[in-house]
């Protein structure tokens, strides 16, 4: 891995990474991929998120869906663990709670394949900050 040597280097690296992610997440074109983020903090793992993540990886592969399954930290919805977020190309991210294998199957079949929402969505109820903008 090459070292980052200056602030300019850092900014360039960020832009590269961001454009890669944007290509992956936002485009509606075939290269836009489904991204599934599973909340894998201690609380999530204790409620079975590891099994759900493995299931997602295996099943998406078996069903020939080109998707990226990644782990992330605690989303804060401890009452509804395991939780996961699905990003479909061209759609806003959707968070699902109480995901077991059955629910995961439903999410793949209905939401990922057909963009049909599934019961158990957790609505976003917080504000995000626009990170790099000085106000």
């Amino acid at each position: 891995m090459t070292k980052i040597k200056s602030l300019a280097d850092l900014k360039k690296k960020k832009e590269d990474l961001q454009s890669k992610i944007a290509l992956r997440e936002k485009s509606d074109t075939p290269e836009g991929r489904v991204i599934v983020k599973v909340a894998m903090a201690t609380c999530g793992i204790a409620s079975g998120s590891k099994e759900v993540m493995e299931y997602m990886v295996d099943e998406l592969d078996k069903r020939n869906i080109d998707a990226i399954v990644t782990q992330t930290g605690c989303m804060g919805y401890c009452y509804a663990e395991p939780t996961l977020e699905v990003n479909l190309p061209g759609h806003d991210p959707v968070v699902y709670g109480y995901v077991d294998k059955k629910k995961a199957d439903e999410i793949i079949e209905k939401y990922i394949k057909n963009q049909e929402l599934v019961d158990g969505i957790i609505p976003v109820n917080y504000q995000t900050i626009e990170k790099d903008k000085e106000e």
Binding site: K20, T72, L117, N125
Partner: protein, 597 residues
């Protein structure tokens, strides 16, 4: 194949269900079917919107219409107007409480402002094991900016201007702390991250380390540059294995990118971080005890001054900050001190992460601006009390904090207000209690914890808390005399005033605050030998109400000690001498024939 072009999200949170949101859900489906729209409009049940006060909620997408207080009868109109004709049902729209205007697009709604994620900005969004995802979310940009464009003095000034105060519990201004450490001379200075999270029920530091470890690393490097330290130490409890693993990965990645090590970003500044493990002692969250533990000594506090800034780790100037404090810092440099200080109250800036737990519907991690009220946190974001029970009390600040009551619900939460009402911010545990919780037992629970965790160095804490616990034990057993209540208060004051460190000085808070707010409950234990909440085992009896008992034998079959007599279809009786008061009979009886007296 159905191709939906409109979705109706119906809140299925506990609060909304209590006001018939499930019937509303069914009605919407039925109405859509009648209109032949079942393949165009999909009805979906969701989790809690955090807006239970105005429930049930229906959100229609893609147009983001937000309907509030919707009854099952409104389904017809919503479908006929909104789904068929594309017109919003104006009377169900949310009305902004300030300007009294109806809000048609929920993106502009004020209630989203109840939670702002600053410290948790990346938690649940990025992969914590990928430095690239952190970099893409503006990671290490604050560090780059500070190293390239600011002198240490200027960078410290930003912290001072931001008004950030320590999130570990004390609330000391972070910038001032850095300034003091920067002015002390030392051959080697240290930056320490306190990740010894010990309050029962608090887990925000763990979540930050597990969800966004790089933010802590970045802030520690900035801290090092500001005070002239080249070494950082993270003191973390060994019982957080996942946080440790992710931290290790993050440290390795930062080194590979040259964001830790020598000559960081060609600035000539060197900094590296090591991890130190704690064995999980509560007192080691106190900074002097933490430092001794890292030095290999017993984890015991020492008197301040000297403060760690003067003589800390290995006698060198040391700055200790908590995980959540660090997590705020990169954002402050990216967005400016002015932005940060525009959030919060006059003396407490920014946000605070709370771990909501106890008898509350939406147990979880929330981040709210300082100044929000307990009512908003508990009844809106938290979704209210479980099983529709009555709110009794909320405990903040862990074993050092206090129990607040109904009358404090509208107090804006910040460091100073919580202290003024006899509790404290603490690290952010918030435990909600309902009518079934006995407040004397709650105080006893926290005392038990303090007695366990007292390091034993000073006698007020070692002996005093033990005696305090015995007094509480007597009260919950109904064996206390009237003067015991005076003794309880007096002893609490002595412990508070004479203990060596923060652990002892604050340990009587749960007792004092419950005495202040729930005196009548103490009195009924002492004077009438009665526990109003029905939870102190020695003071309650389970009895069978003859009029209601049908003789089904359910209680007798489930009694673990076989102390219930009675034939089928005959009245049952409980042998009080054998009863262990487990409550199994009460739980199993379907005829309300078992009562606590």
């Amino acid at each position: 194949m159905a191709k939906f072009n409109m979705h109706m999200l119906v809140c299925g949170g506990t609060g909304c269900r209590a006001s018939a949101s499930n019937m509303l859900y069914e009605n919407l489906k039925k109405e859509l079917k009648e209109q032949g729209l079942q393949d165009e409009v999909q009805v979906v049940e969701t989790g809690c919107f955090g807006f239970c006060e105005k429930g049930p909620i229906v959100k229609v997408i893609p147009d983001n219409t937000f309907y509030v207080s919707v009854t099952p009868e409104d389904a017809k109109e919503i479908v006929a107007e909104h789904a068929v004709k594309g017109r919003q049902v104006k009377r169900l729209l949310y009305v902004d409480p300030v300007n009294k205007k109806q809000i048609s697009d929920s993106k502009g709604m004020g209630f989203y402002k109840k939670q702002i994620r600053i410290a948790l900005r990346n938690c649940g969004l990025i992969d914590p094991e990928s430095i690239d995802e952190y970099l893409a979310s503006d990671g290490y940009e604050a560090l780059g900016k500070v190293l390239a464009e600011m002198t240490p003095e200027e960078a410290i000034q930003v912290m001072i201007d931001s008004g950030l105060r320590g999130r570990g519990g004390g609330g000391f201004p972070t910038g001032v702390k850095w300034q003091i450490a920067s002015k002390v001379d030392g051959t080697q200075k240290y930056v320490v991250c306190n990740a010894d999270e010990g309050d029962p029920g608090a887990f925000m530091d763990r979540s930050i380390l597990e969800g966004d470890p790089h933010t802590v690393i970045e802030a520690m490097v900035i801290n090092g540059y500001c005070i002239g330290a080249t070494k950082g130490l993270i003191y973390i409890r060994a019982e957080y294995p996942l946080a440790i693993e992710r931290l290790k990965i993050a440290l390795e990645q930062a080194r590979e990118y040259g964001l830790l090590g020598t000559d960081i970003l060609s600035s000539g500044f060197d900094f590296d971080i090591e991890i130190r493990y704690g064995a999980g002692a509560f007192v080691c969250g106190e900074e002097t005890a933490l430092i001794h533990s890292m030095e290999g000594e017993r984890g015991e506090p020492t008197f301040k001054p000297p403060f760690p800034a003067q003589s800390g780790y290995l006698g060198m100037p040391t700055n200790v900050n908590n995980v959540e404090t660090f997590a705020n810092i990169p954002v402050i440099y990216n967005k400016g001190a002015k932005w940060f200080s525009s959030i919060g109250t006059e003396k407490s800036k920014g946000t605070k992460v709370f771990a909501l737990a106890g008898k509350i519907n939406n147990v979880g991690l929330i981040e709210v601006p300082m100044g929000i009220t307990l009512r908003e946190v508990i009844f809106e974001i938290g979704g209210g009390i479980k099983d529709g029970k009555k709110f009794r009390s909320v405990q903040t600040g862990g074993p050092s904090g206090g129990c607040l009551t109904e009358k404090h619900l509208d107090t804006p939460i910040d460091f100073d207000n919580l202290l003024a009402v006899g509790s404290m911010m603490g690290s952010g545990g918030m435990i909600v209690m309902d009518e079934d919780d006995c407040m004397v037992s709650v105080a006893k629970f926290y005392l038990e914890f303090t007695v366990e965790e007292s390091c034993g160095k000073c006698s007020p804490c070692r002996v005093g808390n033990k005696r305090l616990h015995e007094l509480l034990e007597k009260i919950t057993q109904g064996k206390a005399e009237k003067e015991d209540l005076d003794n309880l208060r007096n002893l609490s004051m002595v412990i508070r005033d004479t203990s060596l460190c923060g652990l002892g000085q604050t340990s009587p808070n749960p007792v004092l605050s419950t005495m202040d707010n729930f005196m009548e409950e103490y009195q009924s234990h002492v004077e009438e030998q009665r526990c109003p909440a029905g939870s102190c085992k020695e003071l309650i009896r389970y009895e069978i109400i003859p009029e209601n008992c049908v003789g089904c034998t359910a209680c007798a079959r489930n009694c673990p000690v076989n102390c219930i007599e009675g034939e089928r279809k005959q009245l049952h009786t409980i042998d009080q001498s054998l009863c262990i008061k487990c409550g199994a009979c009460l739980e199993k009886c379907k005829f309300n024939a078992v009562a606590i007296v």
